[in-house]
């Protein structure tokens, strides 16, 4: 696990750096394949099997083929090179190092502790260490393990994601109902409407319509035209 994670993390970072460094577009596409494939492997290692499969299918299988087609259709030579000047490369290296240092140094670290406010709700004091917050918050909000998705189990996220895209959230059953029932000291009424976390049916539909619009727009933009004569 750890060795695999280290290997794929280094491969993805190295591929990304080589995308920036290499000058030929074809080599850039190759290193982008390496980087994105390693990111898909990282997804598998993070128990996100469906996201990893979608990453492999859509990114590595679809988007990169599209990019390589773009390289082929726009290349004026067999190896198209539009060089970046060395001064720009040096400035980009310095700026990139500083930016990376800034992003990394902004990664939170610290400890979390739970306190109770006047209403009896649990409040996380330090919003620093995410894992400590997770360990502190998880027993308060999670439902007992009934075989549905929880992030400690292995993968198997296909069915919960499918349910979530259809608007059902069986992995977040009745969190709000339980807390409200605990506050009002009465049993939760099943007929009081949906109280579980909502699903993703509306974003799913919006994404599908968006893809249709993009399909029409891309076909309109890329249609065959006579090349303009006054092009410089």
């Amino acid at each position: 696990m750890s060795a695999l994670f280290l290997f794929f993390a280094i491969a993805s970072c190295l591929g990304a750096v080589l995308v920036v460094i290499s000058q030929s577009v074809v080599r850039m596409a190759f290193w982008l394949v390496v980087s994105l494939g390693s990111v898909a492997a990282l997804f598998f290692l993070a128990d996100a099997d469906f996201v990893g499969a979608a990453q492999l299918l859509i990114y590595v299988g679809g988007t990169l083929v599209l990019l390589v087609f773009g390289v082929m259709l726009t290349a004026s030579g067999p190896y198209m090179k539009i060089e970046t000047s060395p001064g720009e490369t040096a400035i980009a290296g310095v700026v990139g190092s500083l930016f990376l240092f800034m992003v990394i140094s902004s990664t939170p670290s610290g400890s979390a502790q739970l306190t109770l406010d006047e209403d009896g709700h649990t409040v996380v004091k330090r919003t620093g260490d995410w894992e400590a917050i997770h360990d502190a918050v998880k027993p308060a909000t999670s439902t007992p393990d009934d075989g549905s998705f929880d992030d400690k189990s292995d993968g198997n996220t296909l069915r919960p994601i499918g349910w979530a895209l259809l608007g059902l959230r069986p992995d977040r059953v009745d969190i709000t109902r339980e807390t409200e029932a605990g506050k009002k000291k009465e049993a939760a009424d099943p007929a009081s409407g949906p109280t579980a976390a909502p699903g993703y049916l509306l974003p799913f539909e919006i994404a599908s319509v968006h893809l249709l619009v993009v399909l029409i727009g891309a076909a309109y933009l890329a249609r065959a035209k006579r090349r303009s004569d006054e092009a410089s």
């Binding site: 993390a9 995308v19 980087s35 990376l100």
Partner: protein, 101 residues
């Protein structure tokens, strides 16, 4: 080893590489590759938070939407790049100065 901060480090490296790629590449296709790297950095962060925090399944669903929108963005941007190439006979983004920007 595979902690949350390690995943965040990978995401940060991908993000910074993508930003630098977008800023320095003069090739239009290279700029698009930089955009893909940035979106992947965001995806790594979403999946890592989905695993290591109480975010649960929401992060994974969100990264799925990002993947779908990135594919759509790549299709439209490549159509624009082909149009640019048809008009300018090059893909060098420094030549796209018709708008005097």
């Amino acid at each position: 080893m595979a902690t949350l901060n390690a995943y965040l480090l990978v995401g940060a490296v991908l993000f910074v590489c993508g930003v630098i790629c977008m800023a320095t590449k003069r090739n239009g296709i290279g700029v698009l590759m930089g955009v893909e790297l940035v979106l992947n950095g965001a995806n790594v962060n979403f999946v890592a938070f989905s695993k290591f925090t109480s975010l649960g399944l929401d992060g994974q669903v969100f990264s799925l939407f990002i993947i779908v929108l990135a594919a759509a963005e790549a299709a439209v941007a490549l159509a624009i790049a082909l149009n640019f190439y048809n008009n300018h006979l090059t893909i060098d983004v420094d030549r796209g100065n018709k708008l005097k920007g």
